[in-house]
Amino acid sequence: MAVRQGVDGVGGEADPVALAGGPPVSLRVDRISKSFYGVAAVDDVSVELHGGEIHGLLGENGAGKSTLCSMLVGLYRPDSGRIVLDGDEVHLRSPDDAAALGIGMVYQHFRLVESFTVAENIMLGRGTAGGRRARRAVEEQVDALASEYGLAVHPGAPVWQLSVGERQRVEILKQLSRGARVLILDEPTAVLAPHEADRLFDAVRLMVDKGHAVVLVSHKMQEILGHTDRVTVLRAGRHAGTGATASLTPAALNTMMFGNDLAGTDTTEGHTAQVPGEPVLTVSGLTVTGDHGRPAVDDVSLTVRRREIVGIAGVAGNGQRELHETIAGLRSPATGTVTTAALAYVPEDRLGTGLAPGLPIEHNLALRSFRREPHARRGVLRHRAMRETATALVDAFDVRGARDGMPVSFMSGGNLQKAILARELSEAHDVLVAAAPTRGLDIAAAEAVRRHLRSERDEGRGVLLFSEDLGEVLELSDRILVMFQGRLVGEFDRGSVDLDQVGLLMTGAAE
């Protein structure tokens, strides 16, 4: 571990200042391919990155973005093709190899130890020995890096006390302190409030100004257009195009992502006014104890009626999860009641709650109907009927990548979400509770999900939507409730939304 050496002679624990001296980093991916179970996830893709640029990586779910990034950080080994760093081919056998060469990644799901401090987490990432002096040195380094890049965070603070945005900064600092010159950010704004996202991009711009190369993996076209210097688009595992951001239009990117089929889809389908009907979901005085033993949901009351979409806006971690899990019966309330008509539920946690990861699609699609005809008769399963249902649902909801008998965990996020929707919406229900239904989905898949939500409403059902994407909540909801620290702190009707006020309520700034 100690002797790991970069190819260019820069030490593994490189002082980032060394960057200033050398030539800007360059990373070239040369005709790289990777397949799983015979399915090509990345197929003959070439990309070039340079120090000093923010490089957008755009593509649908399942387009191969994650696989490509995983190869860059040594999680997967390419089946063929080369990775060339500063002119030399490198063989990355593990994330440690990649880190030693200055390639680091910040994942959507943070990899921090909650009970450790910021500095301890950063030391952990480096595998250096503990001890007070080492910690002091790391704290000083963290402080220096933090102020250099505008990533303010207190090195001595335990991670569990930090906000999501702060945790993300810790992850970035962890990579920078390990000498990362190429930094891959996977959907970094998915979990951030708008002002936090702005701060992030300020920091990212500082990094590239100092010679780092940053890869921004995103689904949000505005983000790509607003913050990157160049963009590479992947489609179905293949390289669909690369260009300078300034020279690209949204329409051009759309064509690259989806080919010609979906370009020009109207993403703001009309929202026809409806008169809400009788209540189908009533929550009153609900308090739920969270995993930390504190009340995560605090005296919440709300009603969802037929023919309305009620949106709950809020930054992640303010009790939304506990609220929808309690409504779905996965948690028990401390006090209060939930009264619901027949419920369909799209959980936040697609693999694990929504779907049993190790079981095949036909099993998962029958999770709620396996007891009944036609899937079972007198306790005996009818596999053929289950397969037929699965085939029909897969077609109807455009679920791709499912193979006979293959565990669903091999499918991409968007297709998993479609599978859950397929199952839930095919069951008789009066109300749909959807938690972060479009998170991580590509534009087409997200729009498909939104269409389903709208038609639910239009068909006379009630919808309770939880989303961290404020734009989505505004676009879909008839009523908007704002959740902050376990409580509902604001309510707006569709027509009378004060955007500034919503933003302030979401971040607690209104109080």
Binding site: Q5, R82, D88, G352, H383
Partner: protein, 375 residues
């Protein structure tokens, strides 16, 4: 130029691979074993011939192996069904003892003139019930309080062993034959003896195989099996789907215990003909866990694995009579079992050599080597 090993899963292994790999693995094991035997001064061919004769060659040998495999199939099933749902019942050992206690008790209690079908049927049922109840002591706290069943089932094994020893050695219980100076159990009536298929092989073997098929079918084709598989994969998904996890936990652990209990009943009825702690406490329950693991928790897989293990065990005893030391016997048994089970890896995965990259200037290879050396 470097190359590296690439492991890729085989989607569907061909029949040639399925059948060929274990055979090759066995040959490899026998080859290595010959070296070991040679070093210890034994004649490998004579030893192998003796092993073969003792375990597989001829009716008597096969009867011995299948009889030995019978309780192992059942304890293997007991482990497989529970582990399938991630309920780690390691108490088949104790559940087997309880099954044996109940079955022998019934055999001694019921009138000796009871028709054999009823008598043996009652013993099997009683054994199943006792095993299920014993598992229930661990299952109820696990299902409703989340108590770790690994600890509780293990502790219950010791309690069951102590109970069985007490009934025969520690007291003049109903189970013990008071006329014998060395403590022994009362012999069960003839009507309680398991009917014989051939020689020493009794109907219990057929029952064990039938239960394996039944369990496989239930897990695959019933809504109950659907529940078990779902919980085993993801308890949260199961809970959301409205599957009662506590109830399923109880049911599965009870089935697991019942299978082990039946193993105990069959051993009493078919082999020992009395409650005999010494011949029952030979870790049949723990061995079942190994069998289930090797069979990948597939009930149909449990049968051949149990028979294979029984053949190795049966062959092992014969080697000592011709002068192979017990340590060498154990080494040989382990070698054969490990080789063949490790061969499974090659059945389900394809291993190939692949160059690390296309031919490159020396600097690249050097860089790769530097990396290799460092990591």
């Amino acid at each position: 130029m470097t190359s590296r090993l690439v492991v890729t899963p085989r989607a569907k292994p061909s029949m040639t691979v399925r059948a060929g790999v274990p055979f090759v693995a066995l040959l490899v094991a026998l080859g290595l074993g010959a070296v070991i035997l040679g070093l210890t001064g034994a004649a490998p061919l004579t030893v192998y011939r003796t092993m073969f004769d003792a375990s597989l060659n001829g009716a008597r040998a096969i009867e011995r192996t299948l009889t030995y495999a019978t309780p192992l199939i059942l304890t293997g099933l007991a482990a497989a069904v529970a582990f399938r749902m991630k309920a780690y019942n390691i108490g088949a050992e104790g559940q087997l003892f309880l099954g044996a206690i109940a079955a022998s008790g019934l055999a001694l209690q019921l009138p000796a003139g009871t028709p054999a079908v009823l008598m043996v049927g009652a013993m099997l049922l009683g054994g199943a019930l006792a095993g299920a109840l014993w598992a229930g002591f661990a299952a109820v706290p696990r299902a409703f309080l989340g108590t770790d069943e690994i600890i509780t089932t293990l502790m219950l094994n010791f309690v069951a062993l102590a109970l069985m020893n007490y009934l025969i050695f520690g007291s003049f219980s109903f189970w013990r034959d008071p006329t014998r100076p060395v403590p022994q159990g009362n012999t069960i009536p003839d009507s309680a003896a398991m009917p014989v298929i051939s020689g020493r092989l009794h109907v219990g073997f057929a029952i064990a195989v039938a239960l394996a098929v039944l369990l496989w079918w239930v897990l695959r084709n019933t809504t109950f099996g659907f529940r078990v598989r779902t919980i085993g994969d993801s308890p949260r998904a199961a809970r959301y789907a409205g599957i009662g996890v506590p109830f399923a936990t109880l049911a599965v652990l009870a089935i697991s215990g019942a299978l082990a209990g039946v193993a105990g009943a069959i051993e009493v009825s078919g082999v020992t003909n009395r409650l005999d702690p010494k011949s029952l406490a030979i870790e049949l329950g723990y061995t079942g866990i190994v069998i289930a693991a090797v069979a990948r928790l597939n009930p149909l897989g449990v049968v051949p694995v149990a028979i294979f293990l029984a053949a190795i065990a049966t062959a092992g005893g014969s080697m000592q009579s011709i002068g192979v030391r017990v340590e060498v016997v154990v080494m040989m048994q382990g070698l054969i079992f490990l080789s063949v089970t490790a061969g499974e890896f090659f059945v389900t995965n394809r291993i190939g050599l692949r160059p690390a990259g296309p031919p490159e200037p020396a600097v690249t290879a050097a860089a790769a080597d530097a990396l290799e050396g460092a990591s």
